[in-house]
Symmetry: C2
Subunit: 329 residues, 2 copies
Amino acid sequence: MKTKADFETKNSFLRDEVNNHIRLALGKESPQTLFEPMRYTLEAGGKRLRPVLLLLACQAVGGDYKDALDAAVAVELLHNFTLIHDDVMDNDDRRRGHPTVHRKWDTNVAILAGDGLVALSYRYLLRTKHPDLGRLGSLFSNTLLELCEGQAYDREFETERNVALKDYFKMIRKKTGALLSSCGELGALIGGEDEKSVIALKEFGLNLGIAFQIQDDLLDVTAEEEQLGKTWGSDIRQKKKTILLIHALNEASQKDREVIGQILAKPKVELRDVGDVKSVYQRAGTLASSSQMLRDHFELARKSLLSIDSPEGRNLLENFLDSVIHRTH
Amino acid sequence: MKTKADFETKNSFLRDEVNNHIRLALGKESPQTLFEPMRYTLEAGGKRLRPVLLLLACQAVGGDYKDALDAAVAVELLHNFTLIHDDVMDNDDRRRGHPTVHRKWDTNVAILAGDGLVALSYRYLLRTKHPDLGRLGSLFSNTLLELCEGQAYDREFETERNVALKDYFKMIRKKTGALLSSCGELGALIGGEDEKSVIALKEFGLNLGIAFQIQDDLLDVTAEEEQLGKTWGSDIRQKKKTILLIHALNEASQKDREVIGQILAKPKVELRDVGDVKSVYQRAGTLASSSQMLRDHFELARKSLLSIDSPEGRNLLENFLDSVIHRTH
């Protein structure tokens, strides 16, 4: 059985490999207004969760991680494209402790930098040596479309009074689940193409992704602003239909539901309102209930790993899962 | 020798085939804020120049156009993605006689609809049955990146006092040449993969694309607004470094260069200024000189066709070229 320290060593080795390849991918200088914001975004850090998952999935089915490096770069570039465009749409000022691209430059630069990252991400994905590149490409395109669909639902929900929990789950499966799910699937396909493992690692990524989004929703009100690298309570201020807000809109007392209703009806939600909503969350048991759903999805992810034959591969992915469970930002 | 009427029949048959496939590609209803603006854009018309070129190139090397239909849909979707995002960046109000997506909805909807079109365009491209899908995908990704680079240069040039003619050509090779060049190349690759024809049709598309952009620059001041489907003189008002403006900035009299310099220094260029710039163009011989460069590139395109063996294929492409030469919008 591998220890946590073994995993940390592995994790940071793979992260460095990914970072080296990303640096090469973004080496071009000109036009400056295209490549500089791309580098700025990728160099601002980030946990490289998606590429590391892809590489671990590849190894877990007996593959060589080197064969999956191009695809790993591709998923990280695609992820960063979503960050840049989503920040424009959500009008967010900060990301990973730095000004967002559209704040540091402008919206036009952000649109173009995101578009450029999509081009580069496909370029890298399609460099992969694989007998069925059509399958990898089709999977990747479906993922990109799901990312767009998830973001569209998320924004549509902002102006709806209430959203059903099942619609919330449909949205986060696309917005956050789809890409992590693809990381598991792509890694398994490149590593060996045993269909049982492909399905298991796809499910692992999907449930991890769903849990990850619920965790994000929770961190928005429970984490320290400094850790988060972005404005505290920004989901509430944007009237995002998070799992917390949906729970409270359905489960809080009549009086508390009215409190929230009045806040959401305001043209602009203030910092003080965020505190009021948080108090409702506490009274309605929202945090406890959401935390339970979070744990449930982490457990679903853990169970998916049972059909991975390699004990070492499974163990590394369990450690990976634990590292996500214990994240603070 | 095929007549113009034969070409028209062929052209409208291929256009209908493309339109039918595009309709299928955009059949999804939900999320509405994602798919409705995509359909709105694609259904607003457009000449379907790019997919028709791709299909004609495929046939010209002896291929079956049906094998290239997915790729043809892909290039049209990618083209429409650039229209939506470019309209946001250029702050254009109208396109093909209708309000642009960001005017009819908002900027966020336009960003997302463009992103979704990229996803769909790759999905279609990668459906193509071809022994070297990696080559098609890599070509397509390079094209997408070039489109972004071209747009970035175009916008960078707006704030530069003057731009060298060679930099203008670098920009339009990417912004307009790259995609039309890919249409020739993709069609030839799918149709038969004879390298001589691949190069010829790639060159044909590239020179056609360069000519097409020069023609666009000219139409901005010579066409009727109604025909154009967008605001007359919008290039001048956006301080776009078109081939006309670059010629005038270098070749007009000292006094006329000052006239233009003063207009470009204004925070906002008015309709009256557009008329003044146009008068400078007339005095400096700008329209005549640009028209000559336009004809030169059309001729280069025509020459590329000489190495196409099939007389019928060559003839259809010549007729295609003529239809572009004689366009009025």
